[in-house]
Amino acid sequence: MNIIESAGLGKRYRRTWALRDCTLGIPGGHVVAVVGPNGAGKTTMLQMAVGLITPTAGRVTVLGGEPAGSPDALDRIAFVAQDAPLYKNLPAGDMLRVARSLNRRWDQPYAEARLGDLDIPLTRKVGKLSGGQKAQLALTIGLARRPDLLVLDEPLAMLDPLARHDFMASVMAAVAEEGVSVVLSSHVLAELERVADYLIVLSRGRVQMAGDVDDLLAGHRVLTGPAAETDEQARRMRVVQCRRAGAQSHLLVRITTPADPVPPGWEANRVGLEELVLAYLRQPGASALPGPAALRAHPATVWADPAAAAAGHETAGHGIGMQAWPR
């Protein structure tokens, strides 16, 4: 089941498109990282998925076909917005009660136990909590709703390193225990590298990369070799990024399988996730998106938009295609 599915999703504010042509099929049961520079459209995308913003173009469905923002979707998706907005004048215990009163599914013992473990007193006002405590409270409220999907918008932005670690540990523990799917965004990839197994990269309002992290990493490699042979080798391969010095150059290339032959005299190394994402971000014309086959693997979709299917995606063996966006 696709946890979030969009077809040509877009949002325009006055004259600028915050998000455009977003066509995704995010599978459930994963921890999905949405990364990109500030202003790339991450918040817009997430808020459309939870029903806070109405799309200007396209549509988005969640949890296997539910319209975003429908009562059923609201029930089953817990959203924590940036800066974890909560009512500052309420003590934590009353904040829990507000959440309990506004939701149909609620696990009060779980919420209280969590806050107890985190040493957050129920009588302390939300405004007096530290940044990390407030984030944990917001997370507690989200998890106590027993959601099928947890959406976190830049949850780590205001947290110190210890709070960040504890927060992510909490989220991962919840994933391990409850099996909840998670979508979280950040403009710092490094924080999400260890936890994400599905990655979406947004840049300037467009999706540049989307896919399983293992597949993305297995589908690329860095070839290091003599600079003189660079052009010859580049012609034969799908190069994402080329870095050339006097004698040596590095080519970040797309490969079909790990058994793709390495040119003689060249050395092949695996790519790190951050290196890969940065390379794509620096090449606005490049993208690594799942081909139609991978999207069709999740049958809840009916693609009404022929442009999405006919956009020239290549279908690789593990479902990643490469496409050049028009500059």
């Binding site: 994963h30 670690h165 540990a169 391990a176 994400a196 197994d197 695996r270």
Partner: protein
Amino acid sequence: MSQPGQTIPASPIEFRLDPSSGVPTYLQLVQQVEHALRLGYLKPGDQLPTVKGTVAALAINPNTVLKAYRELEHRGLAAGRPGQGTFVEGTLGHMGLPELAALRRTLLTWLGTADAAGLDEAGIVALFTSALRDFGERRGEHPDSGTGRIASPGRRGPDDQAEGVA
């Protein structure tokens, strides 16, 4: 995240993470288990750290831990018991002591030759690593996703990451 007064984890070992090592997280966990086995921290029948506990301590994706435990199962080193956890099963294969001694002697001879040729320690390591990789590829086995690490299904060999030849 264990504090005094809380229940001691059931596993004899705890995982740690080296984010800068370049080795994928799940492989680090596999290596730590094998290392612990080798050094005697773990014995057959011991429980491996729970997924939840590991994830809460290291803030990593549970799938990573599951992947590591699947790999250990694949290598015959661990087995999952439903509802209870993952437990150590087999042992790392042993070579006989005389065989090990013979291999060591050959290696020392080779090292002498390399040293005489002017190769320093880092050069020896680089040469050994690339030869190891070629060897694995020539044998037709898939290079695992990792720098120079070769997993051989059906073979229980000693840990073959070049750790320094001293």
